[in-house]
Symmetry: C2
Subunit: 228 residues, 2 copies
Amino acid sequence: MATRDDARRRKPDGAPTRQQDPEGTRRNILEIASEEFALNGLSGARIDEIAARTRSSKRMIYYYFGDKEGLYLAALENAYRLVREGEAELDTDGLPPVEALRRLVEFTFDHHHQHESFIRMVMIENIHHADYLDRSEVIRQLNVTAIDNIAGIYSRGVAEAWFRPGLDPVDLHWQISALCFFNVSNRATFSRIFDRDLGSPEAQATLRGQVVDMVLRYVMRADRLAAE
Amino acid sequence: MATRDDARRRKPDGAPTRQQDPEGTRRNILEIASEEFALNGLSGARIDEIAARTRSSKRMIYYYFGDKEGLYLAALENAYRLVREGEAELDTDGLPPVEALRRLVEFTFDHHHQHESFIRMVMIENIHHADYLDRSEVIRQLNVTAIDNIAGIYSRGVAEAWFRPGLDPVDLHWQISALCFFNVSNRATFSRIFDRDLGSPEAQATLRGQVVDMVLRYVMRADRLAAE
DNA sequence: TGCACAATGTACGAACTAGATAGTTTGGTC
DNA sequence: GACCAAACTATCTAGTTCGTACATTGTGCA
């Protein structure tokens, strides 16, 4: 298939020619818009600035996305979709429960760390009281799988007497998310206030180990822990 | 002392008279500005809107705070000061280490919960990569006491063989903060995605108990846990 | 080949927004 | 009661920002 990499083709005589590429234009706009919104927020991002960085024009933004809010919503949905797709890569089948849970937490920690702009979009969305997420049919459907994964690991762990019973997988997901999310979302203020660079590889390695530890200690039976 | 409650006094003939009250005007502007910034963010908040809600005027905002960023910085410092002052109310002296730590975590959880607009200011500041916090001499000085408190409890706990050794009080503070902060900061998106109202008193009580549990299990020696 | 419609470029305007200018009133001091 | 700095009011402006009107070009299809 002949993909179009360059935005503008040229006629044989060298004069630029308009080229139609709806999908490419749309994608290009969405990419730039996502960066700008993640960086500056909904009200902070500027349509003109987004348009300027695009290979396209402001006219096309309105043509494809309606208005600024429509563009923001599309960027938000895109961020969720990308990240949830990435999560599908995690495979804990066949691992013993404790190892599976450790793996899940490490993966979540790393994944959040690697997708800072997704984290920022979620922060921004929370500033807006999740109003736009609420309007999105798409996003809610994307979030069930994460729970299935945890629930599976947890129930195996309980069955094999490694984990204590009575915990709720959604709550577990909440706790893991809290630690992994905060690591990215509040790094700036925490680093400044306590005068530590929490973004350094060493600091991240330490935090990661502690987060794993914290979750495992929470879930595992006390008698299993004592045996360490 | 004669405090001024009404913004405008009136002459005997009933005509409004201009009244001077620098401190009151400043404080009034700061209050309204804090609300608006916490609600809408730095770029989202409107000077005109703030001025309109004030008992004062736009001119006075510039008179006292220079520009929009100056006003934002003042609001940020105010938020930190208020919350840190509130934290001083916590007293764990005389409590056994485990109870003291439990108390500390519960207090932090409740305190964050009660000061949502502070949390929002910190979120907003993180969106801005803590740039304004960086410019503030005032704020950094406010944050040492929190660590002293934790450090004291922890070292007592280790000495009395309830807590395992080798943990860093700042890291501990990080973990407690992460859980308590996330509870407020991400409530909107989490509630919507998992279709639970995490703001309800019941949900909050559950989460609170789990957070306390999580921290205690992380800090306590395994043999002490097993004895429960 | 020509038609209908999708995709794109250019220019502009109405509303908004941060901030400035100019002048007035107040309360304390000597 | 004259004087002055601080506190305050009313009004204006330069620049920005979202969004649109109108014109033009490309493409699939009858």
